[in-house]
């Protein structure tokens, strides 16, 4: 291997690493706020890619149907819960929030078909609009009724949810793989190093969204309330910060980042309804390197996973996943040695 090949592999690895950064940061965000290891994040990324592809072909994407079904279920669950708790007066608000709002988003995309035929930016925007309600609705249907369960139980439910989503993906998107139009065919050259415009765009997006998230946490009250929920759940409740609301915001922010990653990867990788799992799992390895709490650690970990994967596939393509996932074992050993156990806050 000479320098040229190494540099190509490194750039390629950093680009896929940047994709994992976007997904992994969302995973950490959701885990710290809700204690849920949200495995279906990879699926959210894949579904965004499939949505964008459908819009390019001028079809109403399967996501629309998925959102309508989930909105119906979430509304049902919420109304039943409100009735059982004697809070019937809150039903109109619930209908607005869980039914009218998601349906309105789908309606906007449906009605504006002539618009998105002409503009790639609009297609990307509409793909994100369609994808954003999915995770918050799943949260309402699946996780909120068991919000106080153990982390392990929430993880098992996440696995089940992932398989359910893959099945729904097949139903709504069909078995064909898709690849979307390239966003740019620019190529930058620095000496002997070549960077494709798409790779640069991916890395730029990872930096941009990490920066935005940082600003959100540090400079907005909602961002601070999310951190507060993550740091001390009962303390946050005692300040009137509703963990359910923090959870919903975390799912929306996380879905946005996963959605962006799906859009960026769609022109370079062929995406199928079940492509999300490996994406999510690699991002998860990155998140584990950050201990599922540290954002900088997660970003470095995800980039490392991307680079390792790239070099591993050059050495022996068949073994790249073996190499990447075997990495988990030394990392977990290392983490269990160095991690300091701080004073645990009891969950009530």
């Amino acid at each position: 291997m000479d320098f040229d090949i190494a540099s190509i592999l490194a750039i390629d690895g950093l680009a896929s690493g940047a994709i994992y950064v976007l997904i992994a940061i969302g995973t950490v965000l959701i885990f710290t706020v809700t204690r849920v290891v949200f495995i279906p994040f990879g699926d959210i990324a894949a579904f965004t890619a499939l949505t964008l592809a459908a819009l390019e072909m001028g079809r109403l994407p399967g996501t629309a149907g998925l959102v309508v079904v989930l909105a119906g279920m979430a509304t049902l669950v919420e109304v039943v819960a409100l009735l059982r708790n004697g809070r019937a007066h809150e039903i109109p608000g619930a209908l607005l929030y869980y039914l009218a709002l998601p349906l309105a988003l789908v309606g906007v995309v449906w009605l504006s078909e002539p618009l998105y035929q002409s503009s790639m930016v609009l297609r990307i925007l509409f793909s994100l609009i369609l994808i954003l309600p999915i995770a918050p609705l799943l949260d309402r249907i699946v996780y909120r009724p068991i919000a106080d369960a153990s982390v392990l139980m929430l993880l098992i439910v996440s696995m089940a949810l992932h398989f359910a989503l893959v099945g729904l993906g097949l139903l709504f998107f069909g078995p064909e793989g898709v690849r979307t139009e390239p966003m740019t065919d620019a190529i930058f050259e620095f000496g002997s190093i070549m960077i494709t415009g798409q790779a640069a765009l991916i890395m730029f997006a990872a930096v941009l969204f990490s920066g935005l998230l940082y600003l959100f946490f540090d400079f907005t009250l909602i961002g601070k309330s999310l951190r507060a929920t993550a740091v001390n759940r009962s303390g946050a409740r005692l300040m009137g910060i509703r963990p359910e609301r923090s959870g919903t915001i975390a799912y929306i922010v996380g879905s946005l980042m996963a959605g962006v990653s799906g859009i960026l990867i769609a022109p370079v990788n062929t995406m199928f309804y079940d492509s999300g799992f490996l994406l999510g799992l690699r991002a998860f390895v990155g998140a584990i390197i950050g201990g599922l709490v540290s954002y900088p650690g997660t970003a470095i970990g995800s980039l490392f996973v991307g680079v390792l994967e790239s070099f591993a596939s050059f050495q022996s393509s068949a073994f790249k996943d073996v190499i990447v996932f075997s990495l988990l074992i030394p990392i977990l050993i290392w983490r269990s040695i160095v991690s300091v156990h701080t004073e645990e806050h009891d969950e009530e």
């Binding site: 009250l221 601070k224 740091v231 946050a236 409740r237 005692l238 300040m239 009137g240």
Partner: protein, 236 residues
């Protein structure tokens, strides 16, 4: 109409009753204390009042039934609890902790004045406003917990063992602060093992033993009660 009415309230952990048909009242502007030994159910009663524990019986706050209200609803109505464990946001700055106190009623225009008011009351917090809450000393943490609670603009502040684990000088400062809340129009429900300091500060006292109220009355008369004195006040 009393601010808070607790009527025939029981709380149990599984089959064990921690609190049995307790009744008490807090009038507007009053400081009411619940004293009693370790394990009497004081903390349990407070957690039930704020809604973190399920209870049976009737609780009303400003005439409104609390039973269907979540913890967060109760905070919005003007109830606030400073728990025994303080429950600060350890990895966030002192300033952010205070800001989040104002979460339910955040107003960009007035927030700086509100912060200043808290800093005036606790100048130590101003010196440390950029530090993480987790790096503060025990006394400073209690001040931050009180300051953060005051940022919620409570009508009734429930304090669970505010003097626990603190040095005597700081305990005096904390009780001084509690007494000064009257001027702010904040009523206080104070749970304490430090019975003497609590009774000296409060208007009305209740004595809780093994989950039941065994005695109640004006704080000034309870403090001279010979039986209480022997049990909790250690004589003179």
């Amino acid at each position: 109409m009393p601010l808070l009415t607790i009527e025939d309230v029981s709380v149990s952990y599984g089959k064990v009753d921690a609190v049995r048909s307790v009744s008490l009242q807090v009038e507007e502007g009053q400081i009411v204390t619940v004293i009693g030994p370790n394990g009497a159910g004081k903390t349990t009663l407070m957690l039930a009042t704020i809604g973190l524990l399920r209870s049976f019986g009737r609780m009303t706050f400003m005439g409104e039934d609390l039973s269907r209200l979540s913890v967060e609803d109760r905070i919005e109505k003007g109830l606030c609890l400073v728990p025994e464990k303080r429950e600060l946001f350890a990895e966030m700055s002192v300033r952010d902790n205070l800001l989040l106190g104002a979460y339910t009623r955040y107003n960009r225009a007035t927030i700086n004045n509100e912060l200043e008011a808290v800093y005036e009351r606790f100048p130590r917090l101003k010196q440390r406003h950029k530090q993480d809450a987790g790096t503060l000393s025990g006394g400073e943490r209690q001040m931050l917990a009180l300051g953060r609670a005051l940022m919620t603009k409570p009508k009734l502040l429930v304090l669970d063992e505010p003097s626990l684990g603190l040095a005597p000088l700081i305990v005096r400062e904390i009780f001084h602060t509690v007494a000064s809340l009257r001027e702010l129009g904040v009523s206080v429900l104070l749970v304490e093992q430090n019975a003497r300091a609590a009774l000296e500060t409060a208007d009305v006292g209740y004595v809780l033993e093994t989950g039941e109220i065994v005695q109640s009355g004006e704080a000034s008369s309870l403090i001279h009660d010979p039986r209480l004195m022997a049990a909790y006040l250690g004589g003179h």
